[in-house]
Amino acid sequence: MNEIPAPVLEWDLIAPLMVLGAVAVVGVLLEAFVPRGPRFVVQASVAIGGVVAALGTTIWTATRTDVLDGDVLARGQVAAEGALSVDGPSLFTWGLLLVLALLSMLLFAERRLGGGLSAFTGRAADAPGSSGEAEATRHRLEHTEVFPLALFALLGMMLFAASTDLLMMFVALEVLSLPLYVLCGLARRRRLLSQEAALKYFLLGAFSSAFFLYGVALVYGYAGGFGLAEVADAVASRTQERPLLLAGVALLAVGLLFKVGAVPFHSWTPDVYQGAPTPVTAFMAAGTKAAAVVALARVLLVAFGGAEWDWQPAFWAVAALTMLVGAVGSIAQGDVKRMLAYSSIAHAGFILVGVVGATGGDGITSVSSALFYLTAYGVATIGAFAVVMLVRDASGESTDLDTWTGLGRRAPWLAGAFALFMLSFAGIPLTAGFIGKWGVFSAAWAGGLWPLVVLGVLVSAVAAFFYVRVVLTMFFDEPRPDGPLLAVPGAMTTVVVTVAAVATVALGVMPGPVLDLAQQAGAFVR
């Protein structure tokens, strides 16, 4: 009988994924065998420890990658039989995702705010408002599955950002999405809203996955292979059957832009961000966006780089629309979480401006500008949602923007941190957001997209007006007598808000080290 050759796996390069996957599986086992009493603490510690271990492994892996010879700066190599590309952008994204996940895990583990109970429902099977639900609360039940679920989602995000094969990318998309659908439905308060969010996200997400898969099939039909490098070769050499390629690109883009949260595939974002438990929203808003933007950039630049004149105009339109709808939409919102959701849509637009910008050259490239923007956006987002967790009344988080009036008089530090995140979103100088915007706009300028840059700056001004208005309401209006109670922040949330605020200022005042890291990451390796 013929020998079937064993696949070659570069264990040292995929070690971060292996560590994280192993810890997630251990989490499932802990869920089965650890008694209920210590389970929450054990699960939280193992999840946080696992993320830290994976972060350490990522740094170790990053030191082992070599800079490649070539016209453009690039490092790393394709691993696991052409399924993953462990290159500079992948490693930077892994590190970023792990840092953001570490902050989110601290929010997941926070139990001081809900009277000793986490932000997740005690028993998800109970109907909201039923006697069973009250019983679950009385017995202090908690769903500790959230930690392994979040780790599996994180594993999917890391795979998604590094996949250089369309099938691998689809598997990663599902691994990242399925746990998130479940996590969205587990809020302890306002459970109907939360379940609605989970169902909407699941239905629309499954729909967009189908689009993505159809796109994969069409591109396979055109190129005869799943690898992004094979597709790139086919794009460069084949001239017939162009419609097949274009339809494939369009369908793939639908699936990816859905996860990015770009207009016109954005309509799930406000409902899901509002309904999901706030720690999950923070994790999802920061993590999914980072993974999806990098995956989108990889597909567009590596596989379809040779056909960029065909897809670029469509992406210019999507980027412009996304910025406009996000910024204008956030003005009309009366709920803090919905407002942050619309602002995340606007940020997706700004990042897309960078992604379709310059692809090479000595200056800032589209990849490195997007990576830095994702860092600035990610820390500010997690910080903002951590503040949302702290502003509470008797029924849970008080997310109505009216109740935030005069918050600055009552809790100056907290409101100050929130104002800082708002200013970073607005792109005011000396915050991380300014450097991020400057990066994506200069990448687009270098690519000759001056109309998009002009529009982006105008939209930034509109959005800034809104963010500054929130800051003014918090600091210069009288507090309402029926305003929200402020929870005494637990140690974890305090750490998250502090780290996010310090990072936002540090990245704005001296962006050098992280900007350097993003530039050194170089181009995608095919």
């Binding site: 009988m1 013929n2 020998e3 079937i4 050759p5 064993a6 696949p7 599986v25 499932v28 086992l29 869920e31 089965a32 065998f33 099977a125 109970d126 109907a127 039923s130 069973g132």
Partner: protein
Amino acid sequence: MGEYAPILVLGAIAAGFAIFSVAIAPLTGPRRYNRAKLDRYESGIQPTPVPEGGGRIPVKYFFTAMMFIVFDIEIVFLYPFAVAFDALSWFAVLAVLLFLVNITVAYAYEWRRGGMAWD
């Protein structure tokens, strides 16, 4: 196109058989109705009762079905592995062992959390 002909023929036979089976059943089958035939179908004769006005519903059939899928997928991977065992390297043995460990973890979770208790 010629090499696709057997597939088309097979498809035509399958479609013909399906249409024939559905069409012949009302003509030849006896019509005897009882309560079970008009009730909801849930893997058995007696469906689990639904509480008035909503509430928690036992999902034990669902759990059994999920467990079936777990083992079904296990067999889907184990069978080709067993057939081609002598052509595969040690890597495949380790990979299948790792796969079995993962399946067992899911199984252990369901067992410990009471997924297999019927009542």
